[in-house]
Amino acid sequence: MSAFLTVNNLSAALHGFDQRVLRSVSFSIDTGEVLGLVGESGAGKSMIGKAILGILPSAIEIVEGEILLDGQDLQKMKPADRRRLIGATAALIPQDPLTALNPSRRIEPQITNRLVDILGWTKSDARGRAMELLNEVHIDNPERVMASYPHELSGGMRQRVLIASAFAANPKLVIADEPTTALDVTVQKQILRLIRELQTRHSTAMVFVTHDLGVVSKVCQRLSVLYGGKIVENSSVPDFFEGPKHAYSRALLAATPKYNDPDASLLPVDEAVIEAVAAEVLAADKEWRHGG
């Protein structure tokens, strides 16, 4: 079957600048598959997710390429139609659970709004669904949580609520933007397991943005390594951990902390490797400019 989400040659740039922040990114995901997007800070991981969902900051625009969601080219759709399609098929698990819930609204409408307003559910159906989902994310007293304001919940609780909210409308695609980065390690593990659990149960296609290769090995089937907004390696997860092909990927893997050998853990990525990959990115830019 054809991929559920295909990103083809996607480039984005700061408005009015020649400098691209995403450089001809291509990848695809099948239903039920999890793709990890890995890279250091500023590599453009989150940007890709935002580009797909149409929530790029206003200063950044897509300058070329296509995003096919369920066979439809998002770039060619009218904005209103695009929003409707994304609203019906895709969802986001955001990075920071502290700012991702509206502080002045109770939890319940924040989960059910989409169901009632966009998908036309009745209030009581939506409420039932919200309860069910809060149960699925192992919240013991969903009624009380739904009546709470975000500031009354802990960070881990809020992330659970956000995950429940993301899966509420049975999305076919979920973009998880570093969903565990803002949480402490013990909570991280639970949340990861939870995301994996829901993703498997609903056989959702998922883009998992992270800088943590350990997380990728647990959650994803395939991964793409990004540097400077360019994908330097696409690989299946087992292949990657056996032997990454790109020098930068190897260095990134080597820099992952090893818990059994703490002294060797703080290995920075070699300067020479960075220079090489940066040069590669710039060369690709040059080629792109001449081509376009």
Partner: protein, 283 residues
Amino acid sequence: MLDGRGSLKRRLGARLWLSGTWLGIMALLALFAPLISPHDPLAQDLFAGRLPPFWLSGSDSAYLLGTDSLGRDVLSRLIHGARIAFSVALLAGLATAFVGSTLGLLAGYMRGWVDIVISRLVDIWMAFPPVLFAILLIAVLGTGLTSIIIAIVVIDWTRFCRVVRAEAMNQSAMDYVSSAIVAGRPRRDILWREILPNVLPTIVVLSTLEMGIAVIVEAILSFVNLSISTDAPTWGGMIAEGRTSIHQAWWVLAFPLGVLFLTVLSFSQFGEGLKDRFDPVLR
């Protein structure tokens, strides 16, 4: 799980209590002015001119706070003055808040050309000296309560517009707005249900501050005789009249000045108190 609801209820605090009480009393006086005031604020009695307040010798117990040079009762004029001051404060404060906040929300949320037009307008507006602008406006509109209110709205909407625009921009950048967009919710709905509730505390606080400012502006305009009709019992007008006889009858100046001062202070303190209470970060 956190169960902090009970403990999160904070006490009102002296600031809110004191300012609230003063404003409450003034509001009641304003509301029931005709019933409470012992005399007609406009009635003159030239034989009872410049009577001192009740604790000084030579006072008349019928005039508790004394009379001015035309023999009008200072207390009655103060009470009726409160009526004018509070009408202006409420109407001008709310109207300014409405106009400024609406434009600020639109600019901060829609961005693009809407923002450019509104922001440039604010910049141009703020280049006018406000008091001169007010006097000019009154000169064009003519005196009267409505003119004063219009003048205040026209001059001060920028105050709201700037702050609300910045706040709307802040909120628009939050992840929960992104989530709402991803959920496919319409833009109007996002503005109305996601952004406005979070900007509202700011608007409420600014409104109370604006009410204080409205009281001052009205007093200034009365002082320069550009408010309501000349003999209307306004605090600013009383201050202007009292100024001429300060050596013979200080009370004609002192009482309206004190009441004006306390009222404006109370409005601003009330606003500050509300801010502490409603600030979502502190909540």
